[in-house]
Symmetry: C2
Subunit: 130 residues, 2 copies
């Protein structure tokens, strides 16, 4: 049956970020970012998620949805500022080639053919925070 049993699905944690960002984000949300080719959709399902964007913060609660169209350069991420568990569902499209740009650090990632290449915003290979 196609009903998803949470006890049986593969659990993926962590991130593909290089250090120190992987450690900084451990067990948390993503670095603030925007996608070049992929639309993104979010629905909060439990607790309170605070959406952070250029213009500031918006608290989102269960049932609240947000959509981030591909190419919109206003980066987003979610922070749990509460002392309770917060959860959300994320849906993305699977672009054959994707570029994500991080809003608050000098970092971008190109993803193609299942391989990720991190660079600075100027396109040079990333070798450490600068």
């Amino acid at each position: 049956m196609p009903v998803i049993d949470p006890a049986k699905v593969p659990v993926k944690t962590g991130s593909i970020y290089p250090e120190p960002y992987a450690g900084m984000m451990k067990g948390r949300s993503s670095l603030r970012h925007w996608h070049l080719n992929e639309d993104e959709f979010v629905m909060v399902t439990e607790g309170e998620c605070t959406l952070v964007q250029d213009a500031g913060e918006t608290v989102m609660r269960p049932g609240d949805c947000a959509a981030f169209p591909a190419g919109s350069t206003d980066g987003h991420h979610f922070i749990n500022r509460s002392d309770r568990v917060a959860r959300f569902l994320v849906v993305g499209t699977k672009a054959p080639r994707e570029v994500a740009t991080y809003s608050d650090v000098d970092l971008r990632v190109e993803i193609e053919g299942g391989k990720a290449r991190f660079t600075y915003r100027d396109g040079q290979d990333w070798t450490g925070p600068r």
Copy 2:
């Protein structure tokens, strides 16, 4: 802001089914069907939704999810057998060309370039229930 205001989003109701199916399904779920090219994902957000497939019925409640991979011929739809409101979120991929086949009636639909063509399962133009 990308947070979706339910008061401002376009509301779409009804279906593209030909009669008598449009009337039969009014205010309800879809005819039981499967997709050739599009994956489909469902999360129940309120009440109880009964998933119907070849093998029988499964009651799904808020947080329960189901996935219907493209090309899987085991048709599905949801029925609200309760006396309460039930809601679910549906996510689909946007295949350039799609064929949906209906499990319990002699009907299929080909969708391409925004146009829908209903046929019998043998591919002949649909002109009425048979």
